[in-house]
């Protein structure tokens, strides 16, 4: 089992009811991790609408993650 911190922003934060949580998971990819969390929190955004960052760097969904990572799922952005 891997222990990571996940941060939520925008609609993901609202749907999770929190901005941040520390979880353990045996998911073998970031995509699988999002699938687990989606089921738990009822996220409506599909993975195709998101990007993912690990420790403030964008990552591919198929990559794994490690103990202590900070993982952020990025909903569609709208700066400016």
């Amino acid at each position: 089992m891997t222990s990571v911190t996940v941060e939520y922003y925008a609609q993901l934060r609202e749907q999770a009811g929190q901005g941040r949580e520390t979880i353990t998971s045996d998911a073998d990819s970031l995509a699988a991790l999002y699938g687990e969390l989606r089921q738990r929190h009822g996220f409506r955004l599909d993975i195709a609408q998101l990007k993912v960052a690990v420790n403030a760097q964008f990552r591919d969904w198929q990559q794994a993650f490690a103990d202590g990572d900070l993982i952020v799922f990025i909903p569609p952005v709208a700066g400016g």
Partner: protein, 151 residues
């Protein structure tokens, strides 16, 4: 100091401008994005912005690096507000300096376009009538960067 600022305080444009002044530069191009009273036909009463600061600053720095390389500008700054904004408030400020004006205009346009597509910043619009909603950036251009959203 970082060339990218994400802050809840109003953008201090005079300080940003001073930071960019250098005697070899003859062209200074600025873009400011202001909160409009309408968006897609709905009357807007205000906005809440939130950002994933660390990634937004890193991505903003990459965008400025790209602009320096592509257009040969001398320097640039980007400041973005977070928190609650009212109609008329400045949400984003981009400033570019360059020896000549052509590169300054093109780089400023590049930076604001990329900032809107790539910075992890989210905007919830509040309307005079109806439920607030999270707004997604309009469709990305054809030559979008790998990191840009599709939607």
């Amino acid at each position: 100091m970082s060339r990218v600022t994400i802050a809840a305080q109003p953008v201090d444009t005079n300080t940003l401008r001073k930071a960019l002044q250098q005697p070899g530069c003859g062209g200074f191009c600025v873009f400011e994005g202001w909160v409009r009273e309408t968006n897609e036909g709905r009357e807007v009463s205000g906005l809440d912005y939130e950002a994933y600061n660390e990634l937004a600053i890193g991505e903003g720095e990459r965008i400025i690096d790209e602009a320096v390389q592509r257009f040969g500008i001398a320097d640039a700054r980007c400041a973005h507000r977070v928190g609650s904004l009212a109609v008329g408030d400045t949400a984003v400020w981009i400033g570019v300096v360059s020896p000549h004006r052509d590169e300054a205009f093109r780089a400023c346009r590049y930076i604001i376009d990329q900032v809107k597509q790539r910075l992890p910043i989210w905007k919830k619009e509040h309307y005079l009538v109806g439920e607030s909603s999270w707004v997604a950036c309009a469709h990305a251009p054809a030559d979008e960067h790998d990191h840009a959203h599709q939607g």
